[in-house]
Homo-oligomer: 485 residues x 2
C-alpha cells in the first residue's frame, strides 16, 4: 500500500485498459482469409441436427398446471412465462406477451493474450441450435449459471476458471449488460475480457484471432455471433489517440472522422453531464411498467400443443426443438425457443460533426429492461411488425435507412441473435452515413460520439445489446480489412 503500489497499478502507461486498444489495434491489418478457412473447416465438423418438436413433447420440460408456464424439471436454465406491459407513452398503450425469464447472470467471456505486441482474442467455433447456418464465432466462454454450475451434469465448461477467478489476471472488461428487452425479462449477462500472460492450453475448436481478423469476419453475414459482438462492444477501444495506428493512406473523410471520434479529447456535440441528464430525464418521465404474469393469461396469443403464436401472425412464436450435437457438454437435449417472424433492421445514422463522427442514438424503452430505457440504435425494428400501424407510429428514420443510396451505406451485414434462445433470429445491421446538419435531433434522439458510448458501456444498462453489437461493427470500419466489403 505504499507509493510504489500506486504507481504499479495505475500510472504505468501500459497498465490502463485503454492501452489495450492500442495493442489490439496493432492487429488491425492482419489477413483474414486464414480464419475464414478455419471457421469453414470447423463448421463442417461441428454441425448439429436440430428438429422442430411440439412444445408439449419437449423432453425435460413441463407446463405448470396453474400458470401454464413452461419450465425445465431441474428448475434451472430458463422458463417461458407471460409479461403484461403498460406503456402510457408508446404507440400501443398496453399488451401482454410470452417472455423468457432467466433471473441468473451468465458469463460471456473472451480470453485475451498478447503475442509479439499484438493482443489476440480466443474465440470458439460453436454450433447453436438457433443458428440458421450452424456454426458461428463465439466467445471463449458462453455459459449460463446453470451451465457452469452443471445443472445438466455435463462436462465442465472449458476455460471457465479464468473468468470465475478473473481478479488473478488483468481484467479489461467486466460489466453486467442487458439482453433483448422484448424477448427477455430483465436478463443480464456478465460481459468479460480477461487478459492472461501465462501459457493457455489450446483446445479443439478454439483459435486466437486479432481484432483485425474479427473485424473482417464481422462484415460477413451470420459469422460472428451475438455474444461475441456484445463483448466486443464493451472492449475499451476508445480513450487513447489511435490516429497513428489507423492512419492509412487513402482514408476517406468518414473513416478519418471515425478514428478521431475514439479520442475523448476530440469533443462531442453534447457534454457528458448533458448526456447523463438526458438519460436521467428519460428514465424519470417514461411511463412503462412490466410484470410477469402466468403464460396462460397473455392476451392475443394462441397456444396449441405445438407452439404459441400471436393471432396476427406477427412478432414471434414460441417453438420447441430437439438437438443432437457432438462435442458439447451435453449431446442431446430439447428446449423451447423464440422464433421471430421476419428479419429486423438495426441501424445507426452516422455523420461527422466538426470532423468527429457521431451516431444518432435513441432512448428506447423496452419492457424487459431493468431500468426503463437504454440507448438503442437510430432504428431497431422488424418492419413487418409495424406495417399495420399508422405512419406516425412507424419507426422513425426507417425510411432513411431502407432508402439510403448505396455509397452512403458504410456497413451492411445480416447477423444472428443468440442461437441458444432464438431460432433463426436475424437482423440486418446497417450504418448509413448522413449529413447531421440535415437530420434534426427529435425528442428521444441524441447525436453522440463513439468515445462517449465507450465511456457509457463501461457501466451496465446504458447501451442496449443491439447498440453494443452495432458499436462493434462501427469500430470494425477502422480496420482496413473491415472496410473492404
Amino acid at each position: 500500500l505504499a507509493a510504489s503500489a500506486l504507481s504499479r497499478s495505475h500510472r504505468r502507461p501500459s497498465g490502463a485498459p485503454a492501452a489495450a486498444a492500442g495493442r489490439a489495434a496493432h492487429g488491425a491489418h492482419t489477413e483474414p482469409d486464414v480464419s475464414v478457412r478455419w471457421l469453414a473447416r470447423s463448421a463442417g465438423r461441428l454441425r448439429m441436427a436440430v428438429d422442430r418438436v411440439a412444445l408439449d413433447d419437449l423432453g425435460g420440460w413441463s407446463r405448470d398446471a396453474t400458470t401454464g408456464n413452461l419450465g425445465h424439471r431441474s428448475g434451472g436454465f430458463f422458463s417461458v412465462e407471460g409479461m403484461a406491459v403498460e406503456a402510457a407513452d408508446g404507440p400501443v398503450g398496453s399488451w401482454s406477451q410470452p417472455i423468457i425469464h432467466q433471473p441468473e447472470v451468465g458469463i460471456l467471456g473472451i480470453l485475451a493474450k498478447e503475442f509479439d505486441g499484438v493482443l489476440r482474442f480466443l474465440l470458439q467455433a460453436k454450433a447453436e441450435p438457433g443458428n440458421h447456418n450452424g456454426v458461428q464465432l463465439s466467445p471463449t466462454v458462453q455459459a449460463t449459471r446453470s451451465n457452469y454450475m452443471r445443472v445438466h451434469r455435463g462436462r465442465p465448461v472449458p476455460y471457465l476458471d479464468y473468468f470465475r477467478h478473473a481478479s488473478r489476471h488483468r481484467v479489461l472488461v467486466d460489466v453486467r449488460q442487458s439482453e433483448q428487452g422484448s424477448w427477455f425479462f430483465r436478463k443480464r449477462n456478465r460481459n468479460m475480457v480477461v487478459e492472461v500472460t501465462e501459457e493457455v492450453e489450446m483446445r479443439d475448436g478454439f483459435r486466437w484471432l486479432t481484432l483485425g481478423e474479427i473485424h473482417a469476419l464481422l462484415a460477413r453475414d451470420d459469422t460472428v455471433n451475438m455474444d461475441t459482438r456484445t463483448v466486443l462492444g464493451c472492449l475499451p477501444v476508445t480513450g487513447t489517440d489511435l490516429t497513428p495506428m489507423f492512419d492509412v493512406p487513402g482514408s476517406d473523410r468518414f473513416r478519418t472522422a471515425l478514428v478521431r471520434s475514439c479520442d475523448p479529447a476530440a469533443g462531442a456535440l453534447h457534454d457528458a453531464t448533458g448526456v447523463l441528464s438526458w438519460i436521467t430525464e428519460a428514465r424519470t418521465v417514461t411511463g412503462i411498467r412490466a410484470r410477469l404474469v402466468p403464460l396462460d393469461e397473455v392476451e392475443g396469443w394462441r397456444r396449441t400443443a405445438g407452439r404459441i403464436h400471436h393471432r396476427s401472425g406477427r412478432f414471434f412464436e414460441v417453438i420447441g426443438v430437439r438437438v443432437q450435437a457432438a462435442g458439447r457438454e451435453v449431446e442431446r437435449w430439447d428446449q423451447p425457443m423464440i422464433r421471430p417472424v421476419g428479419t429486423g433492421v438495426i441501424a445507426f445514422l452516422a455523420g461527422s460533426i466538426g470532423g468527429v463522427l457521431h451516431v444518432l442514438a435513441r432512448a428506447s424503452a423496452q419492457p424487459g429492461y431493468a431500468d426503463v430505457i437504454e440507448l438503442a440504435p437510430t432504428v431497431q425494428c422488424t418492419p413487418g411488425n409495424h406495417e399495420h400501424l399508422p405512419a406516425a407510429a412507424r419507426p422513425r428514420f426507417l425510411e432513411e435507412v431502407l432508402g439510403a443510396d448505396e455509397e452512403r451505406i458504410r456497413f451492411d451485414a445480416v447477423l444472428s441473435e443468440e442461437g441458444g434462445r432464438f431460432f433463426h433470429a436475424r437482423n440486418r445491421y446497417v450504418i448509413v452515413e448522413v449529413d447531421p446538419d440535415a437530420v434534426a435531433e427529435p425528442p428521444g434522439f441524441r447525436w453522440l460520439a463513439p468515445h462517449q458510448l465507450g465511456e457509457l458501456v463501461r457501466h451496465g444498462h446504458y447501451l442496449n445489446i443491439e447498440a453494443r453489437s452495432l458499436l462493434a461493427c462501427l469500430h470494425s470500419l477502422k480496420s482496413t480489412a473491415g472496410s473492404v466489403k
Copy 2:
C-alpha cells in the same frame, strides 16, 4: 450541428461541469457566522408542532383490510408495507420487517448561480417533522412526485420549474440515487444541481451560500439535512487540479493528500476497471433477495393501535405523528414515520497512499437497493442492534472507529437523516485517519481515492446515501472553515 456547435458545448474551458469545482472552491474561505445567524433566526420563525399519534388515529391514512399495509387515501405519498429478505451470505440468513414503499422518483434540487466569480447555492431553512431540532438547511427543492404533482392540493413548490425544465439551464448534476436501503424499498430520488445565469426571485427562508459556508455548517450537529448532503455528495468537486485554490499555509499532510486525491491524474491504488470489476463481482455473487409482503405477515414485529415495533426492542419502530406548520404547502397533516432505536455510526477510515488520500469503502448489500450492493462507508451501523450477535458477526472496523485517538478524528458530527420520513434519526458521521499500511483490505473492502468516488457518483447506484453524505463531509475538510473544529 457544425464545428462551431461542437466547440460551443464542449471545448470551452468553463463549459465543463468540472469547472464548477473551481468556481465553487473560490468560495471556500468565506466567513460562516452570517449564515449561522440567519439559520438560527429562521429556526425561531419556522418551528413546527409535532405530536405523536397512534397509527390507527392518523387522519387520511388507513390500514388495508387484507394486507394490513398503511396507505394514504389519495394513493399517493408512500405506504408502509412488509419486506421479506433472504440473505444467504449475511450474518442473519433471513428476516422480515416493515418498509417504506414509495415507487415514485422525487426531486432533490439545488439551484446554483455565479456571483463575482464564485458559485453560490440556494438553500432553504426548512422544518421537518422528524428533525429533533426543527429547522435544518435543505436543498432549494425537496419534493416527492406526489408533492409536485400536488396530490395534496397545496401551494406550488417554489423554484420547481428550474428542475422540471432543467435542460434550459446548465445542468451540473442530474442523477437518480438510492436512499436508505434498510428503511426504503428501492426508493430513488433525482439529485440535481442546476446553474442559472438569470435573475432569481428571492423568497422568504431561502439564501445563497458559498460552498465554504455550507462546509462550515456541515461540521455542526444536525444543521445540514440529509437531502442537501446527498446532492452535495454528487457535486463535481473532483476532476480539476484544485491544489492552488486550497493551497493554504499550514496545511497538514492529511489535507494535502485530500486536495491531491481530487485530481484523477494523481492515480489510485486500484485502477477504474479493477474497481468496476470488483463491483460487478460483488453484485454477481452476493445472494440477497427482497420482496414486498403484506405488512401483517412480517415476523418478529408487534403491532398495536399505536405503533409497530420489533419484539427485541431493537432496530426501529413505526410511529404516527400529527404536524402543524406555518408557511408550508400544506399547514396540517398526519403521517407515519420510522423512528430508529439508538444513534448510528457512519465512518470512513481514511489515509494517504503514496501522498493521495484514500478511504476504505465497503461493498454493502442492503435489501432495499435496486441492484444488490452499493459502496458504503467503512462502518455503517447502529451499535446497539449488534450487541446480541457473536463478535464475528459485529460490524468490521467498528472498534477502530469508536476507539480512535482524538487527534486522528478528522470529522465528527451528529447529523440527521431525512426528517420527512424518519423521526429523530441521527448518526454520528466520522472520518478517522489511519495508516493504510496497517489496515489490510479484507474481502468486501477497497481503498478508493475520492476522485474515483466522484467519477462513480455521476452514475446511480454506486455510492449509497451514507457514503454520499460522508463524501460531502470529507470534501468539507478542504475548506479552511470546515477544518476549524
